[in-house]
């Protein structure tokens, strides 16, 4: 098994076609989801006339700023964890030196990168946030009641690329080649999962927020944050 994982054949598959597939599914799939969502909502006729750019932005700003909404202020621990988690989750892979080297090799593009020690800490933040969310799901009764196995799966999908990336970087546990291959596999799974799972919240969340912000701001004349 381990030998297979380390084999150059696997490496050339995950480093080649899999990466392409992953990015393609992620981008095309997400675009398709947005397209279907907007066109079905358009048919309802009751949504778009109530959208307001000003109140969409007002609402989104209050919710993307830590402690910018009443509910963020009510839950300081969750707020801190979730903001750190999401910031690290989104920005670490984009500004990671290793990733930049890879797409520089493949596509000839690269940009500013994070110092490696900082990236390492950000990776750890994601890992520990996942552990936090895992226990919160088990311990907090209101979360446990609405938890399905798929919620743990989503958590695992977020967790594994960071864990394996971290272990690969430090060359712990498994031989480096095996861990890198595993990492790429899990990274690809995460990208592929976006359009097919509730990770779609990373895209739809902006729209639902904008809609509620518009209704509350323009029609109801009140705050929604």
């Amino acid at each position: 098994m381990l030998e297979f994982l380390m084999s150059p054949a696997v490496y050339s598959f995950v480093r080649g076609p899999l990466v392409w597939i992953a990015f393609l599914v992620f981008i095309v799939g997400s675009a398709y989801r947005i397209y279907v969502m907007i066109s079905t909502v358009k048919k309802e006729k009751l949504v778009l006339p109530y959208m307001s750019l000003r109140y969409s932005i007002r609402s989104i700003l209050h919710w993307v700023i830590p402690f910018g909404s009443v509910n963020w202020r009510r839950h300081p621990v969750i707020t801190i964890v979730t903001f750190l988690f999401h910031i690290c989750l989104v920005f670490t892979p984009i500004f990671l030196l290793s990733h930049n080297i890879l797409w520089h090799e493949s596509w000839g593009i690269s940009w500013w990168t994070l110092p490696e020690s900082l990236a390492d800490i950000m990776t750890l933040i994601v890992i520990f946030s996942c552990v936090f969310f895992f226990f919160r799901r088990i311990i907090a009764s209101e979360v446990r009641f609405v938890t399905y196995p798929s919620d743990f799966l989503i958590l695992a999908i977020a967790f594994l690329p960071f864990l394996t990336g971290f272990l690969a970087y430090h060359q712990w546990l498994l031989p480096h080649e095996a861990m890198v291959n595993l990492h790429i596999l899990f990274g690809a799974i995460m990208l592929i999962a976006v359009p097919f799972s509730r990770i779609i919240h990373m895209i739809f969340g902006w729209f639902t927020r904008a809609y509620t912000g518009s209704e509350f701001g323009m029609v109801r004349h009140v705050r929604d944050y």
């Binding site: 079905t40 006339p49 109530y50 979360v143 509730r198 779609i200 739809f204 639902t208 809609y211 029609v219």
Partner: protein, 448 residues
């Protein structure tokens, strides 16, 4: 096939409601599937599906809900839990659910959620739970599973165009009777009927002529003293209430709203002023108008809070001596979170009362009365559950130490009175109009 979630024994026991218990006997999973599929197709499931798929099951909406807080944080009362027990399985099974599931879904949708939208302000994605739960009600309505009392009001709307089976002669009679009553308060009052081209058509909810006609008398005193050019229609459309909106009967809702707007148009009035009712405002400003394809009401409509605010600001009614008992103010969801009238309500309260004490939280963050959303209209079988599920409101009111709660909404008024009784708070609810009539100056020409 999804099964109903097992319920723990609750303080109110198992509630029997023939509207739910008997009607599900006629259902089969096949019938249910057929109805739901068609309903979802007609509704256009865009918003619904987007919201359900975006929800990350984080539970951050829980503490927004008074039913969750009041039932000792019972997780089945969290907003997301209500969706979990209703819409998630419906969508997941593409409508193929058991009759027992529908019974439980109806109980949740009609008696555990007031559609108050407080949770939308607490969900990081702003997921509109009220819309989802209203969609569940739509499905229950199409399946014929609705609480008996609520259904009775919807039937009344269908037959008489008002909520309380008031016949036209009764209505006209009530107007004339109230005009007479008002003669005991001020000199030469009139209650104009069908006055074409008046500035204002004043509209009330069905229960006013039925049980609370004195409120119409008080409105007449205010209108006469303020010198308002106003009128009532003698014909259908005088009732602004709308329980069909809450039972899920959009077709009847549409007819009722149309009659209301058309009454104003027939009378060629400049605007409609509606009495102190919240759900009526929601039905003309948010839900009913949209069903009719109107972005906004076709005739300007203002709520009593705004009307009184304008009267007081413009000095059309003057205050003789402010109300001297301490008061607190309940912010009705449908006109505060629904229309942002909270500052005006405070202006009016301060203009009328000496000692105003805020509840906490307040304004658009206020807790619902747990009567709204048609919950109180589900009738006596559900009263105990309704008051137990709003302990937070009782605590919130008690903390103000005020003996009077101003409730500028009919549902809130009755619902909060029930809460006060159950928790023995020794308080009383009042409408703004009742306080206005008590404290306003009667000009010479109206003095008896």
């Amino acid at each position: 096939m999804a099964l109903a979630v097992k319920q723990k024994e609750k303080a109110w026991g198992k509630v029997l409601d023939a509207g739910l218990d008997e009607t599900i006997k006629k259902l089969t999973p096949e019938k249910i599937e057929q109805v739901i599929k068609k309903a979802l197709e007609k509704m256009g499931p865009g918003r619904l599906k987007t919201m359900v798929e975006t929800c990350i099951h984080c539970g951050l909406c829980s503490e927004a809900c008074h039913t969750y807080l009041s039932n000792d944080r019972d997780p089945t009362f969290a907003p997301v839990a209500k969706v979990k027990q209703t819409m998630w399985p419906i969508l997941k099974n593409k409508g193929r659910v058991s009759p027992e599931f529908i019974r439980r879904a109806a109980e949740i949708a009609y008696t555990e959620c007031n559609l108050c939208k407080r949770c939308s302000m607490y969900c990081p994605f702003g997921i509109d739970m009220a819309y989802i739960i209203l969609s569940v009600r739509r499905i229950c309505h199409l399946l014929g599973v609705t609480p008996l009392y609520l259904q009775d009001t919807a039937h009344s709307h269908a037959v008489t165009m008002n909520q309380m089976w008031v016949k036209q002669d009764d209505w006209i009679d009530t107007l004339q009777w109230q005009e007479e009553e008002t003669r005991g308060e001020i000199k030469n009052p009139i209650i104009p009927i069908n006055k074409e081209g008046a500035d204002i058509m004043y509209s009330v909810i069905g229960p006013e002529p039925k049980f609370q006609a004195h409120l119409m008398g008080q409105a007449a005193v205010i209108m006469n003293v303020a010198g308002i050019d106003w009128t009532y229609p003698s014909f259908d459309g005088w009732d602004n209430s709308d329980m069909a909106m809450y039972s899920g009967d959009h077709e009847i809702m549409g007819r009722v709203k149309r009659a209301h707007f058309e009454a104003a148009m027939k009378l060629k009035v400049k605007k409609i002023v509606m009495g102190e009712c919240g759900h009526a405002f929601r039905s003309i400003y948010d839900v009913g108008n949209r069903w009719l394809g109107l972005r906004m009401p076709p005739v300007p409509v203002i709520h009593a809070i705004q009307f009184y605010y304008e009267l007081l600001r413009e000095g059309r009614i003057k205050i003789k001596k402010k109300f001297d008992k301490p008061v607190t103010l309940h912010d009705p969801c449908n006109v505060i979170r629904g229309r942002g009238l909270h500052e005006m309500a405070r202006y009016v309260t301060n203009a009328l009362c000496e000692d105003f004490r805020e509840m906490n939280p307040n304004k658009e963050y206020n807790f619902c009365c747990n009567a709204g959303g048609g919950v109180i209209n589900c009738g006596p079988p559900w009263t105990k559950k309704r008051v137990i599920s709003n302990r937070v409101k009782a605590e919130q009111m008690k903390a103000t130490g005020a003996p009077i709660v101003i409730t500028p909404c009919h549902n809130c008024h009755s619902g909060i009175e029930d809460v006060i009784k159950y928790y023995k708070l020794g308080m009383h609810t009042k409408f703004f109009s009742q306080i206005i009539v008590e404290v306003m100056e009667i000009p010479e020409k109206f003095k008896l």
